[in-house]
């Protein structure tokens, strides 16, 4: 898994995640996002276009981060998921607790407006 800042619009940070979010790699996601939150970032768009695979460990990390952001009045938006990743979000009901957009642009527009 690779996590990189891929853009910044106003106070909104776009982050691109590449590869797999599984039991081995998900803790890295949690750690990196937590570091950015600690630096003061509180609005994130996660670009999942290059995410190949997500397991429950990945969902767990996303939930931990979403709860952390909620507690500081922050927000997280997800964008551009592959169908197999999207299926896991749907089965687990995560699509109703975290806003998911078809494109990074749509997520950014929504993030800036909100």
């Amino acid at each position: 898994m690779e996590i990189v800042k891929s853009g910044k619009e106003n106070n909104l940070l776009v982050v691109k995640v590449t590869g797999r979010m599984d039991a081995v790699t998900a803790p890295e996601f949690e750690k990196q996002l937590t570091a950015w939150i600690d630096e003061g970032e509180i609005v994130f768009v996660i670009d999942f276009s290059m995410l190949e695979y997500i397991s429950s460990a990945g969902l767990r990390s996303i939930l931990v981060i979403a709860k952390k952001l909620k507690s500081v009045n922050g927000k997280i938006f997800l964008a551009n998921m592959e169908e197999s990743v999207n299926e896991v979000f749907e089965i687990s009901g995560f699509n109703s607790i975290i806003p998911i957009f078809d494109t990074v642009q749509a997520a950014v527009r929504h993030g800036i407006a909100s």
Partner: protein
Amino acid sequence: MFSIQLTAKIENMEVLVQSVSSIAGKMGFTAKRIREIELAVEEALVNIINYAYPCGVGDIKITCIQEDSPRAFVIEIEDTGVAFDLLSLKDPDISADLSERQIGGLGIFLIRKLMNDVQYRRKNNRNVLTLVAYPPNET
């Protein structure tokens, strides 16, 4: 029938999952269905690695069986760790909103949702988890 036994370590996960999916491929599952089977198997293996052997290391054994009438792909995952029946867990409340949503419990939930059938039995100090997927009809 195919069987493989390895130490319950994260380093061995890929070999274990790949062996299951290569057999699934031969049974005519779609690429999508194979990904789902892989995910379910991975969730089961991660749990054994994380929770079954709190005092040291032990093994994971996977047996794949191709059944006829009805056609079924049966994956048996065995460990000799602490007794644990995944069917005894409540489903997470997937309609809870963000602040009420509990952390955890999704691995087992995914296994149950993705497989056509899930069984558990305790057999001579071993946990035996049986995952079943029905292959597409041959035509």
